[in-house]
């Protein structure tokens, strides 16, 4: 059941006869960063241009296959490459070698800044919908549903710069969830929502996964992975440590980090 990293895809025979939705084939992502190369001491504290290009291997050869209806939890410590892998699968981040194949372009929902901070939530809903490829009529038709799902009706006319990070994530999730996605990637986006919103969004994710699609969920909360995912992947230092059912992976990971499972 446990698949070690770099297992050739040819060997992992699908258990059930489901349609393949995503194939990640030996993907490598290397970040090239300017590093100072020297420790800063009092005398060298002024910026010195003695830096050299340092390569950080964020993903060192990951392969996996996702099937229709799969909802895959991704866990691992900070810096293990979870977000990088999700960015690579979504096509937002170019990969250095390997390949990602998918039945359609994955939609990505990640943490981070608001879409356009100076604009009101209302205008961001419209822009987000249009950027996702909805028509103006579709956005207008779904506008109320999006706002209600986010639960931010009172604040929808305020600039997004005034929103808390939880509110931003709620709005972003509501926009993304308004459309059907074949493949939806959620990167810790639900960590900041309150428990009521989390329940609603987890229900929506299960719906999306049930509707022919496939969902990837990066989360530090093993509870949300156990609640929403049928399968989980444990990443460490850019490699897959374990790829099995959500319960097995969560149990192994909990034992590894020494934390209780019901976090």
């Amino acid at each position: 059941m446990v698949e070690m990293s770099k297992t050739p895809i040819e060997n992992s025979t699908p258990v059930v006869d489901r349609k393949t939705v995503v194939i990640v084939d030996n993907v490598v992502v290397t970040y090239r960063v300017f590093a100072s190369g020297k420790k800063i001491t009092a005398s060298t504290a002024r910026v010195k241009r003695s830096g050299k290009l340092r390569e950080v291997e964020a993903i060192r050869g990951v392969s996996l296959v996702a099937y229709e209806g799969d909802s895959i939890g991704v866990i691992g410590t900070n810096g293990s490459g979870k977000s990088t892998l999700m960015n690579a699968i979504s096509g937002l981040l170019p990969i250095d070698s390997g390949a990602v194949y998918a039945s359609s372009r994955p939609s990505f929902l990640g943490v981070g800044a608001a879409m356009i901070r100076e604009l009101s939530g209302e205008k961001n809903v419209i822009l987000g919908g249009l950027a996702l490829g909805m028509t103006k009529a579709e956005v207008t038709a779904k506008f109320d549903a999006i706002v209600d799902f986010s639960g931010l009706r009172e604040f929808i006319d305020l600039p997004m710069s005034t929103y808390s990070s939880g509110m931003v994530e709620r709005l972003k999730f509501a926009i993304a969830a308004a459309r059907e996605h074949d493949i939806l990637i959620i990167d810790e986006a639900l960590a900041v929502g309150d428990s009521d919103f989390r329940k609603r969004s987890e229900a929506r994710m299960r719906e999306l996964a049930a509707g022919a699609g496939s969902v990837f969920l990066v989360s530090h909360s093993m509870k949300s992975i156990l609640d929403t995912c049928n399968r989980a992947i444990w990443l460490d230092k850019g490699l897959i440590v374990m790829d099995a059912s959500a319960r097995e992976v969560c149990e192994a990971y909990a034992a590894f980090v020494g934390a209780p499972l019901d976090d």
């Binding site: 895809i9 040819e10 393949t20 194939i23 990602v100 372009r105 990505f108 981070g112 608001a114 996702l132």
Partner: protein
């Protein structure tokens, strides 16, 4: 089953690959409403915090004209071009359109980094949107410019309609320029520092407040270069149509159209060729 077989059997597509040009154009056109809407919202947001609001879109160029008119009117003395004020007004207003598109286009990817990192859409919509927001600015400004020309005693003629195709050519030229600038500033962030200098050089070499024709008249190399400068061409057409005492040659329409077509096609292709890389560098 090999990967190739699985890919073929499930009709999977490769992710993170640049779409083909035809596909890219189709997808950009499909989502054009996004570019319009973003342009409109950005314009509103840019003036939302000041108490005079959108009035600034007109006030800034008006102040510029006053300052340049005063300074260059005095400095240039007798060497200033004939019919100086109408000459200067058309120059500043139209130059601002190209310069604004260039500057906003250069920032369009880097300033919208969070949008680029979180949503998949044709990135060309961002520089396009920067140009569209400058089009939204130039339309009322052109109206104001025409009013100012009438106030300065310029007769209204049928030739005034020619400002419309001239602006269309300028928009196409600016769009290409914005796309090249958008890609270059993603590769080399330092270029953002150079944008004001490039704009200055263009300002002084395009004949905004003095006549380029006199400057290099007869010079075998310099003169053709200055004469074929696209901004100079578009200004010559505008002044020839609007300001008494100025005329243009018919070949300048051809040259202007050529610049517009070349800039738009080459700029778009140049931008598209890095489409899959914009997520990494911002």
């Amino acid at each position: 089953m090999s990967i190739a077989e699985q890919v073929a059997e499930n009709k999977l597509q490769r992710i993170g690959e640049r779409p083909r040009l035809r596909e890219y154009i189709r997808e950009s056109w499909q989502r054009r409403t996004f570019a319009y809407t973003l342009a409109r919202f950005n314009l509103q947001a840019s003036t939302a915090k000041s108490s005079l609001g959108v009035a600034w879109l007109v006030l800034v160029p008006a102040l510029q004209i006053m300052v340049y008119g005063l300074i260059f009117g005095l400095v240039l003395g007798n060497t200033r071009p004939a019919n100086f004020l109408p000459y200067l007004i058309t120059g500043i207003v139209l130059f601002q359109f190209v310069a604004g598109s260039f500057a906003d286009g250069a920032k369009s990817i880097t300033a919208n980094a969070s949008l680029v990192r979180s949503l998949n859409f044709p990135r060309a919509l961002l520089p396009a949107s920067a140009v569209i927001s400058n089009v939204y600015r130039i339309v009322p400004l052109t109206g104001l410019m025409l009013v100012a020309l009438v106030a300065l005693g310029e007769p209204i003629t049928f030739n005034w309609f020619l400002i419309v195709p001239d602006l269309v050519l300028m928009s196409c030229f600016s769009a290409g320029l914005a796309m090249v600038a958008a890609r270059l500033t993603v590769h080399f962030a330092d270029l953002n520092q150079l944008v004001p200098f490039i704009t200055r050089v263009a300002f002084y070499s395009s004949g905004i407040f003095f006549s380029v024709d006199k400057l290099a008249a007869g010079h075998p190399i310099l003169n053709p270069i200055l004469e074929s400068n696209p901004i100079h061409v578009y200004l010559a057409i505008a002044r020839g149509s609007l300001v008494t005492g100025y005329s243009y040659d018919l070949y300048q329409w051809g040259l202007g159209a050529l610049w517009a077509l070349a800039s738009l096609t080459l700029g778009f292709i140049y931008f598209w060729r890095a489409e899959e890389k914009y997520g990494r560098n911002v």
